[in-house]
């Protein structure tokens, strides 16, 4: 009797299987419906908002200010000490009616934040462009770093779902997309739509540099994008307060850099545990950002991984005899403790920690560290006094690595995309807004937006620097169209504002004069200093072009070999003589063939 009611093993299995399938089905279905529900809700909102705008324009022409309305206007004219942003005249035919929807794959780092209730498709920028120009931006996907970009663009390419506008497309993907005929040729569109003053002049200022990664057989397959000039080029940063304590002057030569570094280290002036102050900051990359060593190589006349011009032909600097001398010096520095014994394992983030933790008082770094690294350093030690100075001098004078402000990862358009002209027109408008300093573009006032005004002073919030949050191009570094934009604005402000009496200061001018964060003046000064220093001392990498066929095949392996050899020689892991066999191996492994290809390109370049 009991036995009949007991659940048998087989029934248990059946029940289990049914339950498992039920769970499986349950786990799949509701998620799908939730996901589809969300975006459709937001599109409805956006659509209804955009329909309202053209309805107002019926009959009369409205200015951009009138189209935007008080809620979404940049600037803060309502505030007693506010200022007004003067929007440029609308491009002809804009706002587009009905509005066009454009999808984009674009960068957005994890630190990108939005105001409450806003996101990458709905924020002051997207609303401004939608209401004033009639363009609605949708994010097909965002990417956070080059590897992520490569993966996502590759996936989009392989599945045939390339977004209308691709921002930050890696060179490898660009070449592949071009081979598969997936990119729109915008030569004629650019010619007719791009503004002479705001786009064409800056892009053509440096010859063909801006177009090096976009122009194929004389045709343009996208739009160039740049950073601020000299943004990633090294200048010397040094703790003046430490120099004063030790009664030293700012070092001028390599020898003086060595002595200063050892003096800082020996005196152990840093904030860390005893004995943890370092000499000269160095990291695992020779030519970038925090703790770059390129001015040290440059003092010998070479820059690792650069193609330099010698008697009308290009040579690879890493295999030049001068490189051996530079390595010999760095090897001595390493043995003496001028640079840290584990420098080759330090990433940029690790290197920045030496600065923010005040364990380092001397470095060759980019001017941008006045906004990243130095503020933390000042926070931890309010007495820290950082100053910038010229890079040190050596047998070949002062030289440093030039950084091409035009990115190798430009903006491209999907084949068959019909609104490239609208994107270019939007860029005209935005560039005019931001590059003309008298228009007073400083972002939007509001919590979570670009700035707030406290005590009649402009206080930047997180968003202004998070340029990608705004859309595909809004003038901040890395999504700009004029390398000199920031320099020109700073110069204009200095000329027009320095004599302004205090009672006339608006909120932004008060911040400009009083420098409430303590590093903004340093940033302005350093950025202008770096541009001027770049003109005098930057060694140009002459090879600015997509990789040659042998580079595609072999460059990665050659670079592996090069980095391993250079680091091992500096640390003493391998003898200095190893350099000679490296030069030979490099030549045999394809370095020779690459040099031929590079010189062929040089001879026939446009």
């Amino acid at each position: 009797m009991f036995g009949q009611h007991r659940i048998s093993r087989r029934e248990c299995l059946k029940l289990g299987a049914v339950a498992a399938w039920g769970l499986f089905a349950a786990a799949c279905s509701p998620q799908v419906s939730e996901e589809t529900a969300k975006p459709s809700g937001t599109t409805e909102e956006v659509a209804s908002g955009s329909e309202a705008a053209p309805a107002d324009t019926e009959g009369k022409t409205l200015t951009a200010e009138e189209l935007l309305g008080p809620g979404s206007l940049p600037g803060s004219p309502e505030h007693p000490k506010g200022f007004r942003t003067v929007l440029p005249a609308l491009p002809s035919g804009m706002p587009v009616s009905p509005s066009v929807v454009i999808t984009a794959g674009r960068p957005a780092c994890g630190a990108t934040t939005f105001a409450e209730g806003e996101d990458i498709e709905n924020n002051p920028f997207t609303r401004m462009v939608r209401d004033a120009l009639g363009i609605e931006w949708k994010a097909a996907f965002t990417h956070s770093d080059p590897a992520d970009a490569e993966a996502k663009f590759n996936l989009a390419l392989a599945s045939g779902t390339l977004p209308d506008v691709c921002t930050g497309m890696p060179t490898t993907v660009f070449e592949q997309a071009l081979a598969a005929d997936a990119l729109e040729d915008v030569t004629d569109t650019w010619e007719s739509a791009a503004s002479e003053r705001w786009l064409k002049e800056p892009a053509d200022r440096e010859g063909s540099t801006a177009w090096a990664f976009l122009r194929v057989n004389g045709r343009k397959y996208g739009m160039p994008v740049c950073q601020h000039l000299a943004e990633n080029e090294a200048i010397m940063w040094i703790r003046q307060d430490w120099l004063d304590q030790l009664d030293l002057a700012v070092p001028q030569t390599l020898e003086e850099v060595r002595e200063t570094a050892l003096a800082f280290k020996g005196a152990d002036l840093g904030q860390g545990a005893p004995g943890t102050t370092i000499g000269l900051l160095a990291s695992n990359l020779f030519t970038t950002w925090f703790g770059s060593l390129d001015p040290v190589f440059g003092a010998f006349g070479v820059i690792p991984e650069f193609w330099l011009l010698y008697d009308d032909s290009l040579e690879y600097a890493s295999t030049r005899p001068e490189m051996r001398d530079a390595l010999s010096l760095l090897r001595d520095w390493y043995a003496d403790g001028v640079i840290e014994s584990d420098f080759f394992t330090l990433t940029q983030v690790d290197a920045a920690k030496y600065v923010s933790g005040n364990r380092c008082g001397l470095m060759l770094s980019e001017y941008y560290c006045a906004r990243w690294g130095l503020p933390e350093s000042l926070q931890n030690d309010p007495d820290a006094k950082w100053v910038y100075a010229e890079i040190p001098e050596g047998v070949a004078g002062r030289n440093k690595a030039w950084k091409n402000p035009w990115l190798e990862t430009p903006v491209t358009f999907r084949k068959g995309f019909e609104h490239a002209d609208k994107v270019i027109q939007q860029t005209n408008w935005l560039m005019e807004l931001q590059s003309d300093p008298s228009r007073r573009w400083h972002g939007w006032e509001g919590p979570g937006w670009s700035y707030t005004i406290e005590n009649d002073t402009y206080m930047k919030t997180t968003m202004l620097d998070h340029k990608w949050a705004y859309g595909h191009m809004v003038g901040a570094s890395g999504c700009n169209m004029d390398p000199l934009q920031q320099y020109n604005i700073f110069a204009w402000q200095e000329e027009n504002w320095s004599d302004l009496p205090e009672q006339e200061w608006d909120a932004y001018q008060r911040a400009y004069h009083t420098d409430p964060t303590g590093t903004e003046k340093l940033y302005r000064g350093a950025s202008m200093f770096a541009v001027e220093s770049s003109e005098k001392y930057a060694l140009h990498n002459r090879f600015v072009a997509p990789p040659t066929p042998t580079m595609v095949e072999r460059k990665a392996d050659l670079l592996d070999l090069e980095r391993e050899t250079l680091f091992s020689i500096i640390t003493g892991d391998k003898p200095l003589e190893e350099f000679d066999s490296f030069v030979e191996t490099h030549e045999q492994m394809g370095g020779g063939r690459i040099a031929e290809e590079v010189n062929d390109w040089w001879a026939t370049r446009m």
């Binding site: 087989r10 299995l13 399938w21 993907v173 584990d342 091992s568």
Partner: protein
């Protein structure tokens, strides 16, 4: 008469439990197996055709079908690399030393644990040894870099006794040592599980008999415990043999740097750099295929060895 007999037989057959077909009985098992089968197909068999990139100059925009064929060019290039012999050598050296050292420590540690009579202490020690296994290599590498860097924990300590430590992560002659020791630190607890299980399977009667015969602890370990777990030891060693070309990608990727390429760069890290960093999918595919073919052969050999040595059919 005859009909009555037939009737009776029918009644008897009716009264017997129904014999049902194989499928009627076993379908729930198949249903339960189905998800695993789908998983196997989707993630192991279906992507297998992507292996053809090894013979192509693969371009994701053109896909598998339209990318140009290059024959054995990718293999030729890989084998012509000056660093290729080094990659194979490093892979085998690192994998073998990790395997041998880890097994040695795991066997020793489980023997020691087995001798502990306080079960609370035994369980505590065991749990503590497990913990590192559950941290990912990214986290572990962060900890290890901090501890071993100059001015790190170990260095600060050794400086007190005036001993200059080599930089274990930046010296190619020390790097394998660093890899093996951190691997043992992370995996010891986990690899002990099987040995501890093998130990519990030994008949306690044997120990009692040995004790009565006058064997001390050491003798009992030597003559009862070790022979008792030998099958498991051999089995695990043989199974690991198939992994000889996998030297621990995640660990090395998170700990290495160009200076230790000489002893620390392995096939997997090179494949990663070739395929994901420099987008040479064909080359990466070719080296991975090479690794796969050798690995497959090794698995077959180890399977043979295991059944030969233990007298059991494994896998």
């Amino acid at each position: 008469m005859g009909s009555a007999l037939t009737k009776m037989r029918e009644q008897v057959v009716k009264a017997l439990p129904k014999r049902r077909g194989y499928w009627a009985r076993s379908w729930p098992l198949y249903v339960m197996f189905l998800p695993a089968l789908i998983w196997l197909f989707l993630f192991c068999l279906y992507p297998f055709y992507g292996r053809i990139v090894a013979f192509q100059a693969y371009n994701p925009a053109l896909g598998f079908s339209r990318s140009p064929w290059v024959g054995l060019d990718n293999f030729r290039y890989a084998f012509s690399l000056p660093s290729f012999p080094r990659l194979v050598r490093n892979t085998v050296v690192i994998a073998l030393s990790k395997m041998l050292v880890l097994e040695f420590f795991a066997i020793t540690a489980s023997l020691l644990l087995n001798e502990i009579r306080l079960s609370l202490l035994k369980r505590t020690v065991q749990s503590l040894l497990y913990i590192p296994y559950f941290l990912s290599w990214v986290v572990m590498a962060g900890i290890i870099l901090d501890i071993l860097s100059p001015q790190g924990l170990v260095d600060q300590f050794l400086r007190l006794v005036a001993f200059k430590m080599p930089f274990l992560l930046g010296d190619s002659s020390w790097f394998v040592f660093t890899l093996v020791s951190t691997h043992v630190w992370k995996s010891l607890g986990w690899s002990m599980i099987l040995y501890l299980a093998a130990l519990t399977a030994i008949d306690p009667g044997l120990y009692e008999a040995a004790a009565i015969d006058g064997a001390n602890r050491w003798r009992r370990i030597l003559h009862v415990t070790l022979p008792g777990m030998s099958t498991t030891v051999i089995l695990i060693a043989c199974l690991n043999f198939g992994n000889i070309l996998s030297a621990g990608f995640e660990q090395i990727l998170n700990l290495y740097n160009p200076i230790v390429y000489d002893t620390g760069d392995i096939l997997d890290t090179y494949i990663y750099r070739a395929g994901l960093i420099s987008a040479r999918f064909g080359l990466a595919g070719a080296i991975d295929l090479f690794k796969g073919v050798i690995g497959f052969a090794l698995v077959l050999i180890s399977r043979r060895l295991a059944s030969r040595l233990t007298g059991r059919q494994v896998i």
